[in-house]
């Protein structure tokens, strides 16, 4: 056969391709967990503690149990006969943590009993009718107080409420002993320094607030001894593993499904008690059950993020060269360790090297239990905290030395020719080229113009400041040696009859647009139309294996697995194509995919259509020697290293002199996430990250009162950015590919969240610098800023 008149197919990688996910989402046709209905389905409601710390003296479920339509009421102690303590995903010591409290409650919102009823209204009524009597214990809400001897303790065996302590320093860690190298160099650096910066800073507690609350539907089929769990999760495969273990089942007896998931931001990584409870109660009740979280429950029980207190010291020479860093970090992890709780703050220290050559570092970390909701990953997970501490300190140093914030950073950058670069914390940055990124940001933002604008505004009596930050972060988490759940990702690629392609990915998206970017990659790989490709995800019965989506790993690890599987499938297609072209004596190695055909490179007349070859693969007559029919290949991709994207953010903030209200006037982000598959989607990821990072800087904070009562447990008091609170963002990028995966892509999901937070606070501090202000705690509450202005008599 000779060439057909097919249209030339444009290359899609690098193009702003519209998302393939969108038609169902914009028409209300997507299926989120709460949209799932099963015949005979019952509904769960949890009775939750409204005190922060106490012993459960009694639970009276009788009134609830007697209500019409109530199938079952069960207490934590009763449930413990069916469900043991929950597993965690880190190697740190952890106290027992039951899905439903058995004897003691340790934070407001901890469940104490569960109702199973015919509908959710009845379930709520019944949960309200449960009476619980507690012997209240003193609550500990301040981690520094919690560590004091004599403070109330949450868990036996964890003296002074300390969960994890770690220390490293000097010129690095000795890999043999895992002990710090000679530490005296740190003290020496601080003794010899020309200038010191020292600051206590809080990276406050945040609520992730994915717009879709959590939810789970569980169906245990007794006859099949088979459990299906639909959950709003970022990682259905981890859910399958853990729920199987908790239920005493094998993974072959459990199907976990992440249907459409309405955002995660890290809080849907953890496998929660409600997921285990739903599974167990479906088995107990003999019916499918559903639980949907309401927003108040989300504030109380879905993991929080951040909450790190940092005592940061920086040593430098008078020319701005940084000579040492000391960081003592206290992480308030809340009442329990859940899946990755204890690991998150360790990332803070790992990344506190930032983009700088730091000769010596000392890092101390203490993770402390308090009577609050457990913490876990929140967009950036440990890195925003570290970069915030570092970038605030560097900014303070610049102010101390009266240096331009851009120039002090430039002076300390790791030079481009030193990559791969080994940091003091033992990481190896894959690639980087920081100066061009800084230069581009300064140019895009018109930094000199901004300074002039600021000065002109000040001359008019306005309070205006500019801020800059430069971050590097760690993405594409892998290899398995550093990720407790496994650092690989899995993908499968099947070429169907007719030449269509179905691919599966274990990177389970919840807004990231993988169905589009992955299809773009396959379309280019096979040179077939985008419409001919389906990307499946989120169902363990369809996607053989997987880890999940977190740590900006979809593209760098999941995408790499996809390309690896596609490579194998492509090789087989070429073998079938060669077999079809026996008359022309074609070798598979000479073949390429081009415009819907498989052809000899440079000789389009020697070709078969992709569809013809696919059809042949399923009816291979004669079957080429040594081959199996069909084209369905899979790949586990294990990265050799993480990736280290970076970027420069610049902002301008104005503060109302009379009210202290801050307004973000300008936000520029120049990011480098390596090669970009879909710039439209990358822009969207950066926008969203910026909004959350700005949210932390300006608005958001989970606040507890002294008794451990949360006072920001609704959208009425937890301030999140709305459209009118944000300016139009100005984006640009540089491209420094990573060598650690074949795509050269580094990951971008969290970038915006990491650079913007210190950037905006730096701008606010700059605004108030004429008032003698050197640091402001987040968020930039109007009253807090107003007080800083008042303390200086309202005059700058």
């Amino acid at each position: 056969m000779t060439i057909a008149d097919g249209p030339a197919l444009p290359k899609l990688i690098g193009e702003r391709v519209k998302r393939r996910e969108d038609p169902r989402l914009i028409q209300g046709q997507a299926t989120y967990v709460d949209d799932i209905k099963l015949p005979g389905m019952l509904h769960l409601a949890f009775k939750r503690s409204d005190i922060a710390h106490g012993v459960i003296k009694s639970i009276d479920t009788s009134a609830a149990a007697e209500m019409e339509g109530v199938e079952l009421v069960i207490t934590g102690a009763e449930l413990a006969e069916h469900l043991g303590p929950m597993p965690i995903g880190t190697p740190f010591p952890a106290p027992d943590h039951f899905s439903v409290a058995t004897d003691k409650v340790r934070y407001v919102g901890e469940p104490v009993a569960v109702v199973v009823a015919e509908d959710r209204y009845l379930a709520r009524d019944a949960a309200d009718a449960i009476e619980v009597e507690y012997e209240e214990l003193p609550a500990v809400v301040d981690p520094e107080v919690a560590m004091e001897p004599g403070s109330a303790t949450l868990h036996e065996g964890f003296e002074r409420n300390i969960a994890v302590e770690s220390y490293w320093g000097g010129t690095g860690v000795n890999p043999e002993t895992a002990q710090p190298e000679d530490d005296s160099a740190v003290d020496a650096a601080f003794e010899e320094a020309d200038v010191l910066v020292t600051q206590r800073m809080l990276n406050q507690r945040l609520a992730p607030n994915a717009m879709e609350p959590r939810g789970v539907v569980a169906q245990y089929e007794t006859g099949r001894e088979y459990l299906t769990v639909w959950s709003a999760t970022q990682n259905p495969h981890i859910l399958r593993t853990l729920v199987a273990a908790m239920m005493g089942l094998g993974e072959h007896q459990v199907r976990a499904v992440a249907p459409e998931v309405g955002g995660g931001f890290g809080c849907k990584i953890n496998i929660y008690g409600e997921e285990y409870v739903a599974a167990a109660l479906s088995r107990l009740a003999g019916a499918p059950v559903k639980w949907i979280e309401d927003r108040t429950e989300a504030f109380l029980t879905t993991t929080h993020g951040r909450d790190l207190l940092g005592y940061i010291d920086l040593a430098a020479k008078s020319d701005g060269t940084i000579t040492g860093l000391k960081a003592r970090i206290i992480a308030d992890i809340g009442a329990y360790e859940v899946l990755l709780t204890a690991m998150i703050p360790t990332l803070t220290g790992l990344m506190m090297n930032g983009v700088y050559r730091l000769p010596v570092v000392r890092h101390e970390l203490t993770e402390v239990f308090t009577n609050k909701t457990p913490t876990d990953a929140y967009r950036g997970a440990g890195r925003p905290e570290g970069l915030y501490f570092l970038e605030r300190a560097v900014d303070m140093l610049a102010r101390e030395l009266d240096m331009d914030p851009a120039e002090i950073r430039r002076k300390n950058f790791v030079p481009a020719d030193e990559f791969p670069f080994a940091t003091q914390s033992g990481l190896v940055y894959d690639s980087g080229n920081y100066e061009p990124c800084l230069d581009k940001a300064l140019e895009v933002a018109d930094w000199q113009g901004m300074l002039a604008e600021r000065d002109a505004a000040r001359a008019e009596g306005r309070i205006v400041g500019v801020g800059l930050s430069f971050y590097v972060e760690v993405c594409g988490l892998g290899p398995s040696a550093v990720v407790p759940t496994g650092g690989w990702e899995h993908s499968g690629v099947t070429v169907e009859r007719g030449g269509k392609v179905t691919a599966t990915t274990g990177a389970s998206p919840h807004g990231q647009g993988n169905e589009t970017t992955f299809a773009q990659m396959l379309a280019d790989h096979f040179s077939i139309p985008l419409e001919d490709i389906t990307i499946l995800h989120g169902d363990t019965s369809v996607v053989k294996q997987g880890i999940g989506t977190f740590g900006s790993r979809s593209q760098a690890v999941g995408g790499a697995a996809l390309i690896s599987a596609a490579g194998k499938a492509g090789d087989k297609m070429k073998q079938f194509a060669a077999a079809l072209m026996t008359d022309q004596e074609v070798s598979p190695e000479d073949l390429v995919f081009e415009d819907g055909r498989i052809q000899v490179e440079g000789a389009p007349e020697v070709s078969k259509t992709f569809a013809e070859v696919a059809d042949f693969a399923y009816v291979p007559v004669p079957l080429p020697p040594g081959m199996e029919p069909g084209v369905s290949e899979e790949s586990f991709f294990e990265p050799e290293n993480n990736t280290y994207p970076f970027g420069c953010h610049i902002s301008m903030v104005e503060i109302d002199r009379e009210t202290g209200e801050p307004r973000l006037l300008k936000m520029v982000a120049v990011d480098d996430c390596g090669n970009v598959i879909n710039p439209l989607i990358v822009d969207g990821q950066v926008h969203g990250g910026l909004a959350q990072g700005i949210g932390q800087a300006m608005f958001e904070e989970v606040v507890y009162d002294e008794d451990g009562q949360p006072v920001t447990a609704s959208f009425m008091d937890y301030v999140m950015p709305r459209a009118a609170d944000l300016p139009a963002f100005e984006l640009d990028n540089t491209v420094t590919p990573t060598p650690v995966n074949p795509l050269g892509a580094k990951g971008v999901g969290e970038a915006g969240t990491i650079g913007s937070t210190p950037c905006v606070v730096n701008a606010a501090v700059d605004a108030l610098a004429p008032f003698g202000v050197t640091h402001i705690e987040m968020p930039l509450r109007p009253e807090r800023l107003w007080r800083l202005i008042q303390e200086n008599g309202g005059q700058s």
Binding site: K18, R19, E21, D22, P23, L25, I26, Q27, G28, Q29, A30, T31, Y32, D34, D35, K37, E68, Y121, N209, A210, M211, E212, P213, E260, V261, G262, G263, F265, D294, R295, T296, H510, G511, Q512, G513, L680, I681, D683, G684, H687, G688, G689, L690, A691, Q692, S714, F715, M716, M720, P721, R722, A723, A724, L726, A728, F729, G752
Partner: protein, 159 residues
């Protein structure tokens, strides 16, 4: 248990009659009774706007309306927005401009935007940002949503 109340609501052009418990929220009537699950619930204090529908042409948070209050009204949900097979300009705008990521806030956001453009067919960027301030989005940083609404406004002005 209170007495069930008979209601008839015209939803997306179809008359729907039912006996409902008085406390049944409109959003649950749409989602549970009519299976119109495109309307979502994102909070319980009437702040997030994910549940926004049009009641007699005006945007409303269907989590803060009892189904009985909508008796006799015309309700339009995201499922009723496309005209036959053709997307509404706002749906098209959200698609073209990448105005959504996880999609959870999107139906409510679009219904709010319908209300906005109805009242102000050529809004400025600031007016758009103000006009959707009853809707929270956690994914997009709103910028592409603003672009999407501008895109739709331009298209609607042309036609």
């Amino acid at each position: 248990m209170s007495e069930p109340v008979p209601i008839t609501i015209n939803v997306n052009g179809r008359k729907r009659s039912a006996m409902v418990e008085a406390r049944l929220l409109l959003v649950h009537f749409l989602r549970e009774s009519l299976n119109l699950t495109g309307t979502h619930v994102g909070c319980d204090t009437s702040q997030c706007g994910a549940c926004t529908v049009l009641i007699d042409g005006h945007s409303a948070k269907s989590c803060t309306v009892f189904a009985v209050q909508a008796d006799g009204a015309e309700v339009q949900t995201i499922e009723g927005l496309a005209d036959g097979g053709e997307l509404h300009p706002l749906q098209d705008g959200f698609w073209e401009e990448h105005g959504l990521q996880c999609g959870y806030c999107t139906p409510g956001m679009i219904m709010s935007a319908v209300n906005l453009l109805e009242n102000n067919p050529a809004p400025s960027e600031a007016e758009i940002r103000e006009g959707i301030s009853g809707n929270l989005c956690r994914c997009t940083g709103y910028q592409h949503i603003v672009n999407a609404i501008q895109h739709a406004a331009e298209r609607m002005a042309q036609s």
